[in-house]
Symmetry: none
Subunit: 284 residues, 2 copies
């Protein structure tokens, strides 16, 4: 099924009218593309206002944004393979095929739901940050480490601790000129929530990177970024979700570098060259 439809179907807590809308959309997805909000309102017997709100709860900018993303999502689904779960005793070629399509799907779904406005805001806020604190546990901690390494290479002051005490500690000393980024697929990791709350309390700008659905972290954060949300049961090993998170990190980082090209590219090259040089000095 289409990524957006999956998200809508799996959303548990919806109000009665929202459920009516969700139901209509899942059953008439193709038709939505040709419908204005008023038509959809008439068809579902719900007010246009409620439809706008419905789109907002799913993190779309509004009805037109929702309609556009849904239709390109549906178009894409004719070509892309759907997520596949890995089961017992799969033959190796089946496994490889499944992982390949899950990863590719994860990247393209994540790309489809990007809100360019939020993305652009995130990039500029990171560029202007005095210090960037990264929070993430377990797999999301790996993603945080990855971002950390990249930021270090361009000379940005930042921190990324996998130890939850150190996360809080680093959050506790942030100021208003700093930015905190919280990474968590579910958006419900307690340690990460604590750290972000702490950072917010210190007055700094907060960014979340979670799966595409409402979550505690996305509610706290000033700027919300999302990765595609996998179908239930697809989470074994967090593989696809982590690929999607790294994909977003790459987009953020590249956006930053591209914006300050002449400042950052020399930094990047410098850091590669220095690593090489100091190795040589030790006799290689």
């Amino acid at each position: 099924m289409s990524h957006i439809l999956t998200i809508i179907t799996e959303q548990k807590k919806l109000s009665p009218k929202e459920r009516v809308i969700a139901h209509y959309i899942t059953n008439n997805a193709q038709r939505i593309a040709h419908m204005s909000i008023v038509e959809l309102a008439r068809e579902t017997g719900v007010s246009a206002a409620t439809i706008t709100r419905f789109c907002r709860t799913f993190h779309f900018a509004g009805y037109p944004d929702f309609r556009m993303k849904l239709s390109s999502d549906l178009a894409q689904n004719h070509t892309a393979k759907s997520y596949q779960d890995i089961v017992e005793g799969n033959r190796l070629d089946k496994i490889v095929e499944a992982i390949e399509s899950n990863h590719i799907r994860s990247i393209s779904d994540t790309t489809r739901i990007i809100d360019f406005h939020q993305l652009s805001k995130a990039i500029h806020i990171l560029l202007d940050a005095n210090h960037i604190a990264l929070f993430g546990m377990a797999t999301s901690g790996i993603v945080a480490q990855d971002f950390f390494q990249k930021l270090v290479r361009i000379g940005k002051s930042c921190s990324a601790y996998s130890d939850s005490h150190m996360q809080i500690t680093s959050a506790a000393v942030l100021s208003e000129q700093d930015v905190a980024v919280a990474i968590s697929y579910s958006g419900e990791t307690p340690e990460t929530i604590d750290a972000l709350n702490c950072a917010k309390e210190r007055g700094c700008t907060t960014i979340s990177l979670t799966k595409f659905s409402s979550s505690t972290l996305s509610r706290i954060a000033d700027i919300t970024l999302f990765t595609s949300s996998l179908e239930e049961g697809m989470r074994r090993g967090d593989m696809a979700s982590r690929i999607a998170q790294l994909h977003m990190i790459d987009i953020l980082f590249t956006g930053m570098v591209s914006e300050r090209f002449s400042e950052y590219v020399p930094n990047l090259e410098q850091s590669y060259n220095m690593v090489k040089k100091y190795r040589k000095d030790k006799g290689r």
Copy 2:
């Protein structure tokens, strides 16, 4: 090229301003999706009215209809593009498009060059290993950490140090029943080569994960695994190469789990549940 863009490009008889619009659209197709008719009018230096007429000329109901059809057309046509480099002042949508296609390309290229015989050997040797030592510096270190976390979850004894002294230290105590995995895109990272040489000296089986070409590491290793080799100049930030490495790690890991399903899946679930449980015990 996309169907709609082809039609627009091939249309011969267009008025001056229509030609301006056609030209802009073919060069900024992806951006149209996020633009209102007024924005497009401003960008092209043409009135909104003319754009509406332009859409009519091509038999669309109007601008919104055109925009929608173009964007789903583009979504559909999003098949494997070639690698793209990121240059100065790229528009955000170009950046996103480039990263998406680089990552997807990286995953599918890596999949295409898999040697199933080597892969299967690697999986079985890892399964039978008494201890698994992972070596990798910088970005490859992140990949090693990722594999480490996965192996810990299924209860496999393993190590992954990012400190090069510790890598050598851990290699120095390996035995014949152990396995060493060296990760390096270039296959020429001195610290990683040292660690793998040390492991080999201790008599344990060695696996390398490098780019697809001859390298020092791949010559040392007993089993060689490869990721796709990127075009020169594509390495800024190691983004696509790291995605490809993680892709291979996921294949290895899933292969292992699938082979010993009944032993490892409960371990995986146990590790998730215990994390949750011990959080709760602390009062959440």
